[in-house]
Symmetry: C2
Subunit: 139 residues, 2 copies
């Protein structure tokens, strides 16, 4: 189980390195290419199927000058052919000459293929202002 988790965390890290490199060929190698893949970028509508997901990476890479990730709270649940990673993406990015630092929560799902673990889902979302009804114990 621990080896399984390590393999998945390597696949997860490979996704963020491809993102930092703004390299579509490397993103091609990270993802499964079926109709079953899904992607939610922060605030975006749901994208389904590899062609739509790939187009989104192409658009993001075209519009991004720099992107650096530091991950925290990385948790992996892996069993059999599917693995789920949750993490906080601490992001330094440059878009249109403006540098921003932000935190995004991500759920990443991988499936085991003959070529190793391939991403089949990326769901990322921003943390908004704290809500009054949020429980005091939440962090």
């Amino acid at each position: 189980m621990s080896d399984l988790s390590t393999d998945v965390e390597v696949a997860n890290a490979r996704f963020y390195r491809a993102f930092e490199a703004l390299d579509l060929a490397r993103m091609d190698a990270v993802w499964a290419h079926g109709e079953h893949v899904t992607c939610v970028h922060p605030g975006w509508p749901l994208l389904t199927g590899w062609p739509a997901v790939r187009d989104s990476w192409s658009a993001i890479f075209t519009n991004t000058e720099e992107m650096r990730f530091t991950l925290s709270h990385v948790r992996t649940v892996a069993a059999g052919e599917i693995a789920v990673v949750t993490c906080t993406e601490n992001i330094l990015s440059g878009v249109a000459g403006r540098i921003t630092v932000t935190s995004v929560l991500a759920t990443n799902v991988f499936e085991r293929s003959p070529d190793g673990w391939r991403m089949i889902l990326h769901h990322a979302s921003h943390i908004l202002a704290r809500r009054e009804e949020e429980p005091g114990g939440a962090s």
Copy 2:
């Protein structure tokens, strides 16, 4: 595989019925109760571990008068002991006397237990305004 998917979709539907009922005891029966469970309500910070996740449902149920879900784009990937459901939650809700209709994207992960499929992750996020760099083909 199709029976597996059906079982998981039943577990997913049970989650939304517990949410609609605003019933913490039913939510107790939907979720696994370990430290490994995680939950992201729309715009909220990451919650980890069942006590924090349960507290969040208690707070939401206390502050919600009515909640009705119609699901669309339900997709299930199930293998072995883990299953992933993605769906669009079309929500009619009543909070502080105000009725709102909104769409939320959700990723729900379940693990198989001796008592059936239990939720271990719920990640929900709002769709924000369409971005200019969004690919034209995305829907």
